[in-house]
């Protein structure tokens, strides 16, 4: 198992390097000066600009610039935000927990929906429940998150006035009211993301369970005289989780995409809304760093999925 883990870790390194190269290539290919703000700022005289270019090493060959950028990134020197006048890493670390909490909570919600619904539907294929669940799943993952978010605001904030539609990091209350305030404002974003993911995962779970249900060892389990509940939980769902983990890992980029949109709609102060606001403000160092952080998160979650996979399937970790 530890050997398997080590191997997965080693595979993650070239992926990270690959992503950093792609990122840097995009930046290098971009027309104009990446430090465009300085270039267009008339207050900066040409000689100063040239000196700055020299200082930032912008006249060096591409690979030198890439290596220098990579070294700086890996040492935690992520540059300085043009707009907020703060170090980029400070800015990101401030915002990251919120994003992770919202994403984490929504994934838990998605699992809580997908596992029971998908399993129940698959054990009664073509029943009324299965057909209703399937239709809802199709509707769920065809609804773009930005539209669901707006519909939710329309219903729960505008019409019913139950939930706030602007997320605030500071809540002027203490004790229970403070906690409730936080939960209340998180309900809609978490629901929007969680329902969307839950819909596609329900389909994954259903089809994985359907695949397992017809396997011989399930018949063996029934022939043993085990209760149907045990057969389903221990011999069907447990095995169906293996392909589901793979599919869920492949969905991670989409999950983060959804998080960006959701943060933007509900104005959640996470790194997704930071990315949008820095793009609108031409804040290149922040944009680069946030994109890279998203890439790292995807790889991190893939790694977690790999570990889960090795844990779920003894055939993998023993190989």
């Amino acid at each position: 198992m530890s050997q398997y883990l080590l191997r997965r870790l080693l595979i993650a390194v070239p992926s990270l390097l690959g992503i950093s190269i792609i990122l840097f290539t995009i930046l290098a290919l971009a027309p104009g000066d990446p430090f465009g703000e300085l270039a267009t700022n008339p207050a900066v005289p040409p000689e100063v600009r040239a000196a700055l270019r020299e200082k930032f090493g912008l006249n060096d060959p591409v690979y030198v610039r890439y290596l220098r950028w990579l070294m700086a990134m890996s040492q935690g020197d992520w540059g300085f935000s043009f707009v907020s006048r703060v170090d980029v890493d400070v800015l990101i670390l401030q915002r990251l927990p919120t994003t992770l909490i919202v994403i984490g909570a929504s994934q838990v919600l998605a699992l809580l929906i997908a596992l029971p619904v998908g399993t129940y539907a698959a054990t009664r294929p073509y029943s009324l429940f299965d057909q209703v669940a399937n239709t809802l799943a199709f509707v769920g993952f065809s609804l773009p998150t930005f539209f669901t978010g707006i519909v939710f605001i329309l219903i729960f904030s505008v019409t019913l006035d139950w939930l706030p539609f602007v997320y605030r990091s500071e809540i002027d209350a203490t004790g229970f009211a403070f906690v409730w305030g936080h939960i209340k404002q998180a309900i809609m974003p978490v629901a929007v993301l969680g329902l969307f993911q839950g819909a596609s995962w329900t389909r994954f779970v259903r089809s994985a369970v359907l695949d397992v249900v017809r396997l011989d060892y399930v018949t063996t389990a029934r022939a043993k005289g085990l209760a149907e509940r045990v057969v389903i939980m221990k011999h069907i769902v447990r095995n169906a989780l293996i392909p589901v983990v793979t599919l869920v890992a492949l969905q991670m980029p989409i999950v983060f995409g959804g998080a960006i949109v959701t943060e933007q709609i509900f104005r959640i102060p996470g790194i997704g809304s930071l990315l949008i606001s820095s793009i609108l403000a031409n804040d290149t160092p922040v944009i680069m760093a946030v994109t890279f952080v998203f890439a790292c998160l995807v790889i991190l979650f893939n790694l977690i999925a790999d570990i889960l996979y090795g844990w779920l399937d003894p055939r993998i970790s023993y190989r």
């Binding site: 396997l215 011989d216 060892y217 018949t219 063996t220 389990a221 029934r222 022939a223 043993k224 005289g225 085990l226 209760a227 149907e228 011999h235 447990r238 095995n239 293996i242 779920l312 399937d313 003894p314 055939r315 023993y318």
Partner: protein, 328 residues
């Protein structure tokens, strides 16, 4: 043989198992009668698709319902009909009284649990044993089926065993609660020839030790000749002949049985004498709304017009020898 005259262990009569499909009803088992006495080895032979496996699965109600359904008949287990039993009551019979092993040892074990856990699970379910006791039983069972160093092997996963070894594990699992009947559904079909003999020997040894009856389902007449005491021949969802193994090989009555026996390659005859291996011409009829009459009629060289009118009943033409054919 004597066992049959006393109360049989399992007596199936008029069993019909149908499957509903988009194209119509498949009559997989269409009026099967058979009985097994205590400690008896009954061979059930027939081509693939003749309903022998479905019969076996029906006894334990392991068929998927729907689309499957037991349309008619009785399955008397020690005098008690299993057909009307609900799942809870069936569970107490599965593995505890009637156990089953399957054709594919490679896929019959759950890949994510150790073999010890999979054996212990049965013991815990039926004997309410503690984890420790159940695992000890698993070790003991693995030793009985001659798996080397069973104390270590209980903690291994199925993928760490070969096909023959996995079938041994399946046998260990099936016998762990000392059932009165073991249904072996083509237990050697998926194995290499040398391993096949070993598994059959093991089944014989286990029978000596535990004294259970065995219902051995196979398409291999050689396996039947070696192992069984009595044989039931099935064709297209029905029993066509039943006799003791000596009687059946000496005097097969049904034209289909005769064809089956002629199609066994014989090594004891010299090559020049050896008749060409005789295959039965034609194909098995569709079980989807099959025609009335004898289902073998289309392939039978003795068939007359009467054969396509009504299906012949299974009749005892000699003591212990039954056949379903108008010739007798």
């Amino acid at each position: 043989m004597d066992a049959r005259t006393a109360e049989p262990l399992l007596e199936i009569s008029g069993l019909k198992t149908y499957f509903k499909t988009d194209d119509g009803t498949v009559r997989a088992v269409d009026g099967v009668d058979l009985a097994i006495g205590r400690g008896e080895v009954l061979g059930v032979v027939g081509e693939s698709g003749c309903g022998k496996s479905v019969t076996a699965h029906t006894v334990l109600k392991l068929i998927q319902m729907p689309p499957g359904k037991i349309n008619d008949g009785r399955i008397l287990w020690q005098g008690r009909d299993l057909v009307p039993l609900d799942l809870e009551e069936m569970r107490k019979i599965r593995s505890k009284e009637i156990a089953i092993i399957f054709q594919e040892p490679m896929t019959s074990l759950n890949p994510v649990y150790t073999v010890g856990e999979q054996i212990a699970e049965v013991v815990r379910e039926h004997e309410h044993a503690s984890r420790r006791e159940a695992l000890d039983r698993a070790v003991e069972m693995l030793r009985l089926v001659q798996i080397p160093t069973p104390e270590r092997r209980v903690h291994d996963y199925p993928h760490q065993f070969s096909g023959g070894m996995r079938q041994r594990v399946m046998i260990a699992m099936a016998l762990s609660c000392n059932p009165k009947l073991l249904i072996a559904d083509e237990p050697t079909t998926a194995l290499d020839v040398t391993i096949q003999a070993q598994i059959l020997d093991l089944l014989g040894e286990m029978k000596e030790r535990f004294g259970m009856a065995i219902m051995l389902i196979t398409h291999d007449m050689g396996v039947v000749a070696e192992t069984a005491q009595r044989v039931v021949v099935m064709y297209a969802g029905r029993v066509v002949e039943e006799a003791s193994v000596e009687e059946l090989f000496d005097r097969p009555l049904h034209p289909y049985t005769q064809g089956l026996i002629r199609s066994i390659p014989r090594v004891d005859r010299a090559a020049d004498q050896r008749a060409r291996l005789e295959a039965i011409s034609g194909t098995v009829p569709s079980l989807l709304d099959p025609p009335p009459g004898c289902r073998f009629a289309a392939r039978c060289k003795f068939a007359t017009a009467a054969c396509t009118q009504a299906a012949p009943d299974l009749r005892e033409v000699e003591p212990g020898h039954k056949v379903a054919c108008i010739l007798y």
